[in-house]
Symmetry: none
Subunit: 414 residues, 2 copies
Amino acid sequence: MNCEIIAVGTELLLGDIVNTNAQFLSQKLSSLGLDVYHQVVVGDNLGRLVEAIKLASSRSDIIITTGGLGPTDDDITKLGLAKALGVEMVLELNSLERIKSHFIGYGKPMPIINERQAYIPVGCKAVANDNGTAPGIIGEYGKKTYISLPGPPREMIPMFEEKIMPYLKQKSNYIIKSHTLKVIGIGESAIQECLGDIIIGQSNPTVALYAKDGEVQIRITAKTQDEGLAYERIKAVEKQIRSILGINIYGSDEDTLESVINSLLQDKNKTIAFAESCTGGLISSRFTDIPNASASYINGVVCYSNDAKINMLGVNKETLIKYGAVSMETAEEMALGIKKISNTDIGVSITGIAGPSGGSDTKPVGLCFIGLAIDDIVKTYSYIFNGNRRRIKWQASTKALDILRRTILDIEVK
Amino acid sequence: MNCEIIAVGTELLLGDIVNTNAQFLSQKLSSLGLDVYHQVVVGDNLGRLVEAIKLASSRSDIIITTGGLGPTDDDITKLGLAKALGVEMVLELNSLERIKSHFIGYGKPMPIINERQAYIPVGCKAVANDNGTAPGIIGEYGKKTYISLPGPPREMIPMFEEKIMPYLKQKSNYIIKSHTLKVIGIGESAIQECLGDIIIGQSNPTVALYAKDGEVQIRITAKTQDEGLAYERIKAVEKQIRSILGINIYGSDEDTLESVINSLLQDKNKTIAFAESCTGGLISSRFTDIPNASASYINGVVCYSNDAKINMLGVNKETLIKYGAVSMETAEEMALGIKKISNTDIGVSITGIAGPSGGSDTKPVGLCFIGLAIDDIVKTYSYIFNGNRRRIKWQASTKALDILRRTILDIEVK
């Protein structure tokens, strides 16, 4: 069974947005053992869309479109599908009711133009959209299957995962199982060198590396007809990799650095507070993205100004004058201060220069000091990160979190 | 002149990477006045690549490939191009010298397999790669132009900008200018209804809407042979749109909500501090993403626990007991508290239920109270946001920022 993904939208052809939908769908289809041989993008142009669907029908078994299901004039996907298939459009009453009730939820009447979204090609079934007004559709015509999904990822992804995946699972003879190990503290090239033979020597499971947001993910993928065999093969390779990378592997699959730390803190019954200068609240925001963060997270302070550092955290004015706000000494006092005022077991601090301005020869843009106070001990660490302001903030926050993780685990901080 | 982009690489079809090359090229081609009607992705498969190039030749004037120029067996783009064109491959000696000297730069001899990278289809010219070993190629056959670029963005982007852009500029007779208005506080459908005639009535410039991260962007695009005329046409349509949407348009082009607010605060010589509960530092982090945030941003507190609200912000224990942490009254005291302890002109607070747990019938997940204290006045607002935890955090932070913007501008908050 092979699939073709057709993304519809002039905004993609203008380069306004990147086609993350094609990536997401390709990953998921691959995990189902379904091959993707073509990804295609066409604009909001009926003629070219119809051509693209006809071409896909001639070479692919399953044709999945994304985008163009909105209520406006340039949303033409369902019409294009109907034309390519040579069928009429029909009003689907359940969808109409759902769209109306979506607006009632907001206390508004449905705008007339949204009625369009309830029309589908004859022979298709509507797929309810729990996160927006546009229903998706599934249609089987002869040996070909057509699936249309909304364009916005927050509507498309849950619809695909909850409603399309179970449907497509029945169509595949293979099981593809993946297991992802998440690594922090070693770069992609270094991992490649460490794991060389394991990566090259494997064909089933395969081992692939992906660098992402300052971490590296190692994906082990087995394709078999038997689920137990797939797990067995994956486990064997995982064991080899873990014996080499050890504690640099912080988690797997759905784990995030934040969720792993939150669990560690809960296991050890420790509470945490963050004092941030250069990261501007990013560490607190990342940490509180996890449900149940409040089990360990008590408090955060973003002390951008010197006054804030003095008044809120009790940093000594003399320290700021003598060593500067971006210094080992200030980081230390900030960590002790946030721990004290928040009455937590651990206090983490960060102060640095996120740029683009504010750097000097001795203290360049990207320089960051991280402090960690736990029980009666306080340690500080310094790093220089590269990139633009956002990237420096991100890397600094990741490093602070990893220092926290390693400290809780009582292992060496690199 | 219309262009087609063919990205070559099985890693794209597996969803291992996202096709940022297609986005980059589409943006650049559009800015040159060249239309992109198709983006296509094929894997490292010679037969399907040849088919894709033939199809592109039948419908597009300029065919640009990315990827597949490496030295290994699965790098097949040049061979595919030669087969599609019906020409032989030939060794290009200048390229061979460049590749050899690239390795000498690293103090290594050239591996034998890299010699392959110096072969190009007869009739093409090699384009030097200053950031890697793979040369690009340009070929003109009849009325069609073929360009092959390396896959890694750090090689592809400079090659395109420095060597391909100047070449393509000569081929375009048009200039395309775009201007984007950014709107907050009205949804996409409502804007579509307000602007109906302006959107439908325009063909040059065109007017298109994109919903993104809780905002709507309105892009006005003119295609002319004269730059002045393009600006004039855009200005006329912008004026019409502004007369309808007014202050809901917060900025344009490179503006962000945060940067606009920072400028407004600086203009009015006001300082700001944020007290966040449910958004967990996201507002501070967003605000400090802008360079020069420190001109107006003084301080932030993330008071997750009741103790933090009491100890750091001076919220009354009685208020928390009587009305709860998620209440109008708590939001009010938080806003006053953060303003006072930070000694700023404005204090903004937010308290709510980000979910997934913690909701009740009277206080559902998504309920948020926002407080704003300025001079001697404090106002509070309540909203219910939908979606998962991150989405609720994002929407709540956006709403708080927009309330701040409207308050500084002394206009009604909706």
